[in-house]
């Protein structure tokens, strides 16, 4: 069994705790974005686009056994960094775990500004969409 959602969140909080200025934090985020494998072109469909983002963001989910596996991509690298963290936290967990996950790490690593409605970079939409997938899969 892989680590729990909570354990991964704690891990990220420790990693981000190493940086004392915003620039280092964002450089790390950009790095995460660059390292996230691109989504294959056939998955970059209209259907997989997350609405409400200024840059295009694609999210693909599939069920492997009783786990949900996410893959995602974006034209903007900071958004890709954010989504890469979400994937690290939520992917490979059961629908139920994903649905009830409280993503407190976002606030703790100082990225909660990206959750605001007004930020059209859509971290909020991404979280919502990931939970929607979980809901949809659990209903099947």
């Amino acid at each position: 069994m892989a680590q729990s959602i909570q354990e991964t969140q704690e891990e990220l909080i420790v990693e981000f705790g190493l940086f004392d200025d915003w620039a280092d934090k964002y450089e790390y985020l950009i790095d995460l974005g660059k390292k996230l494998p691109s989504l294959s072109e056939d998955l970059k469909t209209e259907e997989n686009v997350i609405k409400g983002c200024q840059s295009r963001v694609w999210l693909h989910a599939e069920k492997q056994g009783d786990q949900i596996v996410f893959e995602a991509d974006s034209e903007a690298v900071i958004v890709k960094g954010l989504i890469s963290m979400l994937i690290r936290v939520l992917s490979h967990h059961s629908a139920e775990e994903i649905m009830k996950a409280d993503l407190y790490f976002i606030d703790q690593i100082g990225m909660s500004q990206h959750l605001a409605q007004t930020r059209s970079n859509g971290l909020l939409s991404m979280v919502k969409q990931m939970k929607n997938y979980a809901l949809a899969f659990s209903a099947k």
Binding site: A23, I30, N121
Partner: protein, 406 residues
């Protein structure tokens, strides 16, 4: 007249703050301008001392509020040199003004096969209202193209003009790339073919001298919030014979003369188009914004802004891989740009971390972005209260952000 920029900046309370640990640099003036203290004071003075509903009351507060409200109308009339203040219709914004014309003038005058000319530079607010009425009336929208620099193709415009064109609706200045359009010439050409012209002045009102009579403009629309005034107020100027011949827009109080269940007669201009209690406080505060601009002189302010534009253009041009979108010879102080291999949003997010407010995205001009084959741009737009030092800091932060992203 040389401007004392530090003194001017002190008039704008919002500018004096830290954002993310750095002094705010506000370069999003094309989206909305900041408000001088006199405008903010006018708003709070109205609510603290004069608040009343206007035009109906006979008591002292109603009188004061009505007088102040109508005084703004007079000031707007003078500001754009309209022949009379009853041709100044107060709306909620440029968008409201354009929709009003589409739903009244358009409804009364468009029929199947008529043409509405717009341009490839238009804001969605000057596209969608025409699409809505065109669809209803069977009218056709045609688009004046722009060249690589973002300049309207006047030759194509001439060729598009014929007797079936009922209206030309173009912006005076492009919000996304700053192009100043040759509206005097365009209006003459349109009139020669019997077409009326609506000018979307959202981006010109704060920067260029507007004389609706000298330019022979049929309809002129703008928003107070882009003129250092409050949000929620807009203006529609129209030629008298046009406004008089147009059917009313929304129904309600204020716009009627007499109401009975058998039928209603409508009030005269401008009230015919101003149903319901208007945005009294914000209209009154717009007076203070107009006074502010007049006191400093629009021309002096624009000269300062053009100097900022020239300096920023020169500085940005030194960044390898940066491409300025919109290189018209006549521009207001708006610079749109893209960076090879970097999404505009990433630059916007990082610049915000430096306390710098720019706009990224499609700027509500998706057809124009498509014309340039771009999903969006970064846009820095200056006002007279911006400084050369701010541009230096911006360029430095931009270089640093690009480094982080590459």
């Amino acid at each position: 007249m040389t401007l004392d920029i530090q003194k001017i900046r002190a008039d704008f309370p919002v500018l004096d703050q830290q954002v993310n640990g750095s002094p705010l640099i506000y370069f999003d003036n094309a989206a909305t301008t900041q408000k001088p203290k006199s405008v903010i004071d006018a708003l709070s003075h109205y609510y603290a001392s004069d608040n009343a509903n206007i035009h109906r009351g006979i008591h002292a507060l109603a009188e004061r509020a009505t007088t102040a409200f109508e005084l703004t109308r007079t000031k707007i009339k003078e500001f754009i040199n309209a022949p009379s203040s009853d041709q100044i219709i107060l709306t909620a914004g440029t968008t409201g003004s354009i929709n009003l014309v589409a739903q009244t003038f358009g409804r009364a005058n468009f029929s199947t096969g008529d043409k509405i000319l717009i341009s490839n530079l238009e804001h969605h607010s000057n596209i969608v209202p025409w699409q809505m009425i065109a669809e209803e009336k069977g009218a056709i929208i045609e688009v004046i193209p722009v060249d690589e620099r973002g300049v309207l193709d006047l030759e194509a415009y001439r060729n598009l003009l014929d007797a079936s064109v009922k209206l030309v609706a173009v912006n005076h200045v492009s919000n996304a790339i700053g192009t100043i359009n040759p509206i005097a010439e365009m209006i003459q050409l349109a009139h020669a073919h019997g077409a009326k012209v609506l000018i979307d002045g959202a981006q010109s009102i704060a920067h260029l001298d507007i004389d609706v009579q000298a330019l022979d403009i049929d309809f002129f629309a703008f928003s107070a919030h882009k003129l250092f005034g409050p949000t929620g107020v807009g203006v529609l100027y129209g030629k008298r014979e046009l406004l008089e011949s147009m059917p009313p827009y929304q129904g309600g109080g204020e716009m009627i003369k007499e109401v009975s269940f058998e039928g209603t007669t409508y009030n005269e201009l401008p009230y015919k188009f101003e149903a319901g209690t208007p945005n009294i406080a914000d209209v009154i505060a717009l007076s203070a914004a107009i006074d502010y601009v007049n006191a400093l002189s629009k021309e002096a302010l624009f000269t300062q802004e053009l100097a900022l534009l020239a300096y920023a253009t020169e500085q940005l041009s030194t960044i390898p891989g940066l491409r300025i979108i919109g290189t018209a010879p006549d521009k207001i102080a708006v610079i749109s740009f893209v960076m090879d291999g970097i999404h505009p949003q990433d630059l916007g997010v990082l610049l915000d971390k430096f306390g710098i407010a720019i706009r990224t995205g499609h700027h509500c001009v998706q057809p124009l972005m498509k014309r340039f084959g771009l999903p969006g741009t970064c846009r820095a737009s200056f006002a007279f209260y911006n400084t050369f030092e701010e541009i230096d800091l911006f360029v430095k932060a931009l270089r640093r952000s690009i480094n982080m992203l590459q």
